[in-house]
């Protein structure tokens, strides 16, 4: 019998992360999710950890538990992120710290610890989340886009550092999807953004899982360091 794939997804309490957790459970994978608070998603193939992804001690504890229980990790999907739409002149430093901690430090810690587990089997897939705000240089998103741009660099450099361990590192940059993350953004801003896409519509959850499916399938072992933006943005 084929061994069940172990998939770790961050930010699974709601939105895209929740969708991905349910999606990969349905595909027969063992999904491990995490978020700051409890999740109401319950399934025999789903385990949830309550933690802050920027807290190194909490992260290490989770990876020790994953190792004890599963002895391996096949896929890491770094979905967790926080956004803040604000003119830079009106952005408090506390907001900047929050975005850097979650979007960059959290992603880095997860990649580092995941790679240590993946290295055991000499194979693994890491998918990071970036944003179309990077190539579109969206005003009002300076800090958010900058923290996500750091994830682009991280993805591209880690792909080289982890290549010899059989681990690929790629990223997806979704267009706006109707989730909590963009609820606070004025409608005219979103409409303007969508108008800059080649294909002018909101992203769907399926658009995201489609790209992740491609990145994580075994045949994609020659695909690394790639950033795929949805909707025809480049």
């Amino acid at each position: 019998m084929k061994e069940k794939s172990i998939v770790l997804i961050t930010g699974t309490r709601k939105g895209i992360g929740r969708y991905l957790a349910e999606y990969y459970v349905k595909k027969g994978m063992q999904v491990i999710g995490c978020s700051r608070s409890q999740s109401d998603f319950q399934h025999e193939n789903y385990e949830h950890f309550c933690l802050d992804i920027a807290n190194e001690a909490e992260i290490r504890k989770m990876f020790s538990v994953i190792f004890k229980k599963h002895k391996k990790l096949d896929v890491l999907i770094n979905n967790a992120g926080v956004a803040s739409m604000n003119h830079s002149l009106l952005t408090p430093i506390k907001t900047v710290h929050k975005l850097v901690n979650t979007n960059f430090i959290g992603t880095f810690l997860m990649c580092r610890e995941a790679a240590k587990l993946m290295k055991i089997k000499n194979t693994g897939r890491i998918v990071n989340f970036v944003t179309v705000a990077i190539p579109l240089h969206l005003d009002g998103e300076a800090v958010y886009a900058a923290t996500k741009a750091s994830v682009v660099s991280l993805t591209q450099i880690l792909s080289r550092e982890f290549a010899s361990f059989g681990i690929t590192v790629n990223a997806i940059g979704p267009t706006p999807v109707e989730t909590d993350l963009i609820r606070s953004v004025p409608k005219d801003k979103i409409d303007k953004l969508i108008n800059r896409q080649a294909i002018k519509r909101f992203g769907e959850m399926e658009d995201i899982s489609n790209v992740i499916d491609f990145f994580i399938k075994p045949e994609s072992n020659f695909i690394t360091s790639q950033i795929i933006y949805l909707g025809g943005i480049s």
Partner: protein
């Protein structure tokens, strides 16, 4: 209960595992006195990174604890814990005791 001897054996096992994949000029002697860092070490900078990662992995497999050997404490210590197999074992032992 964590014992220093068990941690030392774990690092010595890392030497064996490391040697399987290391190039001929970076083969290490299975001894507590083997230098890992500094002029006397056979390891280059990437070799040291690979050794530390291999040691973390060996510790995870043996003690089921994830430790980060290259933390700030290690990098700021006057006498680097990466100096020899025995100093690394001592340092890993202290980290494991802390997380006990």
């Amino acid at each position: 209960m964590i014992e220093l001897k068990k941690v030392t054996d774990c690092i010595l096992n890392t030497v064996e595992e490391f040697n399987k994949q290391a190039s001929e000029d970076q083969q290490l002697e299975r001894s507590v006195d083997t230098p890992l860092f500094g002029r006397e070490s056979k390891l280059d900078s990437l070799g040291l990174v690979n050794f530390i990662v291999a040691a973390e992995q060996q510790i995870l497999e043996t003690f089921e604890e994830s430790v980060s050997l290259a933390d700030e404490k290690a990098l700021s210590q006057k006498n680097s814990p990466f100096k020899t197999v025995s100093s690394l074992a001592q340092y890993a032992y202290e980290l494991l005791k802390e997380s006990e």
